[in-house]
């Protein structure tokens, strides 16, 4: 588990910065919003259910009150016998069942019943009078009066009526049949009638009522189509239903008032309100499917969900855009950094803002510019160091000391009459003077050749006339300007390569030719020459190497670079050679006359 978590954290850490931002944003938006939505809806639903429940109870109380008012009217009707003396007399009289009534009795009973029928409401279906001593007068719907009824001692209603001390008792809906065979649903109110003088029970009055009137009262309540409403008696038996098609809930006997949820699965769950009437003892019950009640809250829930979805969608879209926008300069910076890594220092990060990224960009720019500056400084320092080295070397050899020494050697040789030493030391002195003190940029070819001849006379003495130097230079070329000390190294190279290796006759031939504006100086020897590979390597080095020749400096290379640097890539040295057939070095220079140089 922890491993998995660690893995996830690592995976997250390796994500792109923009993705990280998006993930975090999503989490920050989604979790609180969803939690808020769920909490809001839950509390809303709770509050709504509570309100609906209490509203339902209020409505039901009103309905119950209306019914009670109606029942009170009926209750008062059952008191009418007390105000008719002849009726009380009839009830208390002793009679056989079916005993005929006298005309007066018929009249008074009929008047009494009519008064109830007419004073009461249209919904009175029947009126019955029962005496304890056998009198009975029963009027059922669509029938004439009947006097043959006997009190059924086992009837429930009778037991109830007897135990209520003159209070009326309400009898659940039951069926009565008219003489013509039609049956009617009625509920009844019964009251015990007693004598004030003796305190004894004289009889009972029962009034049958069409439940339609009470049903109308139930139907008056403004309810939804799914609402079930009915009245049940104390035993939980249905008395009157609002609509016979409606189902009856299995709630058992309820009393008092309140709101409860019917048991059952979620689909059929009902919110039940009930109120028990103190007058009838019946309980009015109303039940609404919770689903029906929550229909409105479903709309709210859907709206919340929709709004949340839209908000989340918007937020995520915005956060994606923002995340990419914020990390855009960082990604750019990282790209530039990679370029710098590859050595490209001429990069610049455009700074638009003064925030951290802007400052970072600015620092980056500073860093890159510092870096390139440092590189240049390093380079310059290197050059200066070299210059210093050279200067030091030069200063170590005092030319005047050398000249004076050479002059002394020459004088000593003259005294000793050694001509060769005199010649050598004089020539060496001249050579040194030319190479060390010549600070001019340009010299004439004549000067250069004089210098070469001086060098050669020394070499001739060294090699004891074993070599032959010939010069073939046209007169007009002698006045042309050349860079100092470019011819002697080539001749020196020819001696080193041509004669030192001991092969060849030691012939070195220098020739010059002026063709148009180009002066060509050619130095040939008949020495050992170069193999093809060596030649290629030499040419390669001349082509590409930029070093100005070190101590191991190849004279040719050095001269070539100097010419290229001085005159451009069009000029320089070219080398031709064959093994054992000598080396031929051709030098091309622009024909520069003295006046032009000035």
């Amino acid at each position: 588990m922890i491993k998995l978590l660690r893995k996830a954290v690592r995976a997250f850490k390796n994500q792109e910065l923009a993705r990280k931002l998006i993930w975090i944003n999503c989490l920050l938006i989604l979790v609180p919003l969803a939690a808020m939505g769920v909490y809001t809806f839950a509390s809303f639903q709770k509050a709504m259910e509570k309100n609906v429940g209490s509203y339902q109870l209020q409505t039901l109380k009103q309905v119950s009150l209306n019914i009670d008012t109606y029942m009170n009217e009926l209750d008062r009707l059952t008191l009418t016998p007390y105000s008719y003396k002849e009726i009380m007399d009839f009830i208390s009289s002793e009679r056989e069942p079916g005993q005929p009534l006298s005309l007066e009795e018929i009249e008074s009973l009929n008047r009494f019943v009519s008064s109830i029928f007419i004073n009461g409401r249209l919904d009175i279906m029947g009126v019955s009078l029962y005496g304890e001593k056998g009198a009975s007068y029963v009027v059922l719907p669509e029938s004439q009066y009947i006097t043959t009824y006997k009190l059924d001692e086992s009837a429930d209603w009778l037991k109830q009526a007897r135990s209520r001390f003159g209070q009326p008792t309400f009898i659940t809906t039951h069926e009565v049949s008219s003489t013509s065979g039609m049956s009617y649903q009625v509920f009844s109110i019964a009251r015990e009638l007693r004598s004030f003088d003796t305190g004894r029970t004289l009889g009972y009055i029962v009034i049958d009522i069409d439940p339609v009137s009470v049903r109308k009262l139930l139907q008056q309540a403004e309810t939804s189509a799914q609402e079930v409403m009915y009245i049940a008696d104390a035993q939980g038996q249905v008395v009157i239903r609002r609509d016979d098609a409606q189902p009856v809930l299995e709630l058992g006997a309820l009393s008092g008032q309140g709101v409860l949820h019917s048991s059952g699965n979620q689909r059929d769950k009902q919110l039940v309100a009930y109120v028990t009437s103190e007058i009838t003892g019946w309980t009015t019950i109303s039940a609404v499917p919770v689903r029906e009640l929550m229909k409105d809250s479903l709309v709210v829930r859907n709206s919340i969900a929709l709004a949340m979805l839209v908000c989340i969608g918007l937020a995520i879209a915005v956060s994606v855009i923002v995340a990419y926008r914020i990390t855009l300069p960082l990604r750019k910076l990282s790209r530039l950094m990679r370029k710098v890594e590859q050595g490209e220092l001429l990069v610049q990060f455009p700074v638009y803002s003064g925030d951290e990224v802007g400052r970072l960009g600015h620092s980056f720019n500073m860093m890159v510019s510092k870096l390139s500056e440092l590189g240049y400084l390093l380079y310059e320092t290197e050059i200066r160091e070299k210059d210093a080295q050279i200067a030091a070397l030069q200063s170590q050899i005092n030319p005047h000391f050398l000249y004076n020494t050479l002059g002394s050697i020459s004088m000593l040789a003259e005294v000793a009459d050694n001509r060769d030493i005199v010649t050598m030391s004089n020539n060496l002195g001249r050579l040194l003077r030319y190479s060390l003190s010549n600070r001019k940029e340009n010299v004439t070819l004549r000067d250069e050749l004089v210098h070469v001849r001086g060098y050669m006379s020394i070499q001739k003495i060294r090699y004891e006339e074993r070599m032959h130097y010939t010069e073939q230079v046209p007169e007009e070329a002698l006045g042309l300007l050349v860079i100092p000390l470019i011819v002697q190294p080539i001749v020196e190279n020819a001696i080193n390569h041509g004669i030192d290796k001991g092969i060849g006759s030691g012939n070195i031939q220098l020739s010059a030719a002026l063709a148009g504006n180009t002066l060509t100086i050619t130095v040939e020897d008949d020495g050992i020459g170069l193999a093809k590979e060596e030649l290629d390597a030499l040419r390669e080095r001349m082509q590409h190497s930029k070093e100005l020749g070190g101590q191991s400096g190849n004279g040719l290379l050095n001269v070539h670079r100097r010419i290229v640097l001085h005159y451009g890539e069009a000029y320089g040295l070219t080398i031709e050679s064959m093994p054992y057939q000598g080396l031929k070095v051709m030098m091309t220079l622009p024909a520069q006359r003295y006046s032009e140089a000035r």
Binding site: S114, I118, E142, A317, V318
Partner: protein, 433 residues
């Protein structure tokens, strides 16, 4: 920079799109609310009836069928016992709580036509295509005042003689071939007929059933009185009571004797139930009992018109008609609905005929459906010999006076002569009021 602009546009577009999606979502949610359908309002008609003789079940069936056959009108029937019906209806009209449509007996119509308590329905009937001329003219005219119809007559019902063939057969007074009773002519013949029955049947069976109280004896008296030459006068030309005469006395005395001789059972309250249960051989009652009696297992039913004991056939009759009580909140819609209901009722007279009445519409009486019904044929012709009570606004009160006086006679508190004399005095007194 240009790229930035583009991005900004995209962001704005996406935001707008999401917002509009949210808004349309909201409106859609609103549309889901169930809108109240523009359904046509059902017209509810309160319909009061005074049926208490077994015919109510047929009326209830018809109302139910009417309600089922169409969906624009709902008729809600309230039935009261006849004893209280007119008191209630009068009170309701005076207190402005009248029903939308009510049954009114032709006898009682004058008191409702006076002062305009019920509406003239001539025009309304025409509007719904109810042609009143298709009704039996005798019946129709009973609802016409000054050439205007004040109600749609539903039927005629007359007094008929029911008999239990079982008892008659026992007494040998049944013509087995025709199923008709064998009655010798005249008062004596009828008395002989009952005597023969009394001797043949058990003691707990009444030869003839007629209640000791209420209107039944008055109906029989009016029928017999009208059978006599020169009988049938209630008011004279001066508008005073004129029924205290020899013919009236003869008819009443004959009835009184039947009671006194015990040919009519003593202290009968519910003659209908008595006959229904097979405890009576002969019963004089309106035609409305037929439908109920047919269903009785105790009864081998026979029906004839009131026998002619005197000079000519005549029997009391009345008719039920559908009237619209006047009230201030009556709407044209309800009026139209009431007439549509009336039209349906008379056109479906064969259903009403099952209760026993003779339908008002000629077409229905001639129809096969009606003629297939047993017994009705036997007394259908009676419609022609029906004697209505005279048209008088206070007629019903006068009849109540007769009832009270006859009851006293039946309970042996006065002679027939006294009964007629007292009744005439009281009627005259009532006329003076």
């Amino acid at each position: 920079m240009a790229r930035d602009m583009v991005r900004r546009w995209i962001v704005a577009a996406v935001a707008a799109l999401l917002l509009s999606a949210a808004l349309t979502g909201c409106t859609k949610a609103n549309e889901e609310q169930p809108e109240p359908e523009p359904r046509k309002e059902v017209v509810r008609l309160d319909y009061w009836t005074p049926f208490s003789g077994g015919d109510n079940q047929f009326m209830t069936e018809m109302v139910e069928r009417f309600n089922k056959e169409q969906s624009e009108i709902v008729v809600v029937q309230t039935n009261s016992r006849l004893d209280d019906y007119y008191t209630r209806l009068r009170t309701a009209i005076l207190s402005g709580n009248a029903p939308d449509i009510a049954i009114i007996h032709t006898t009682s119509m004058p008191q409702f036509v006076q002062n305009g308590y019920i509406e003239d329905v001539t025009a309304a009937a025409e509007q719904v295509g109810l042609d009143l001329s298709q009704l039996n003219s005798n019946i129709r005219e009973s609802t016409e005042y000054n050439g205007q119809s004040y109600a749609v007559p539903l039927d005629t019902h007359a007094l008929v003689m029911y008999y239990n063939k079982k008892h008659l057969r026992q007494a040998g007074v049944l013509d087995e071939a025709t199923g008709k009773p064998l009655i010798e002519p005249g008062e004596q013949g009828f008395r002989q007929f009952l005597e023969q029955i009394r001797q043949a049947i058990p003691a707990d069976v009444a030869p003839m059933a007629m209640p000791s109280t209420r209107i039944d004896s008055v109906w029989l008296w009016w029928s017999l009185y009208n059978q006599l030459e020169g009988g049938g006068i209630f008011y004279n030309e001066q508008g005073q009571a004129a029924f205290n005469n020899p013919q009236a006395l003869r008819a009443l005395a004959f009835i009184d004797e039947l009671y006194k001789d015990g040919l009519i059972g003593a202290n009968i309250n519910d003659s209908f139930k008595l006959f229904y249960d097979g405890k009576a051989a002969v019963l004089f009652l309106g035609m409305w009992g037929t439908g109920a009696f047919e269903k009785s297992p105790e009864l081998e039913l026979g029906v004839i018109t009131v026998p002619v004991l005197y000079d000519r056939p005549a029997q009391w009759g009345d008719s039920h008609s559908l009237a619209i009580p006047k009230k201030h909140n009556m709407t044209d819609e309800k009026r139209r609905a009431a007439m549509l209901f009336s039209k349906w009722m008379v056109e479906h007279g064969e259903l009403w005929a099952q209760a026993g009445h003779v339908p008002s519409m000629t077409k229905v009486v001639e129809s096969e459906a009606f003629n297939r019904l047993e017994y009705r044929n036997d007394y259908a012709a009676a419609a022609d010999y029906v004697v209505y009570w005279p048209r008088h606004p206070k007629q019903w009160s006068m009849i109540e006076i007769l009832i009270a006086e006859f009851e006293r006679m039946i309970y042996d508190k006065q002679t027939p002569e006294e009964a007629l004399r007292h009744a005439q005095l009281k009627v005259d007194a009532a006329l003076e009021e």
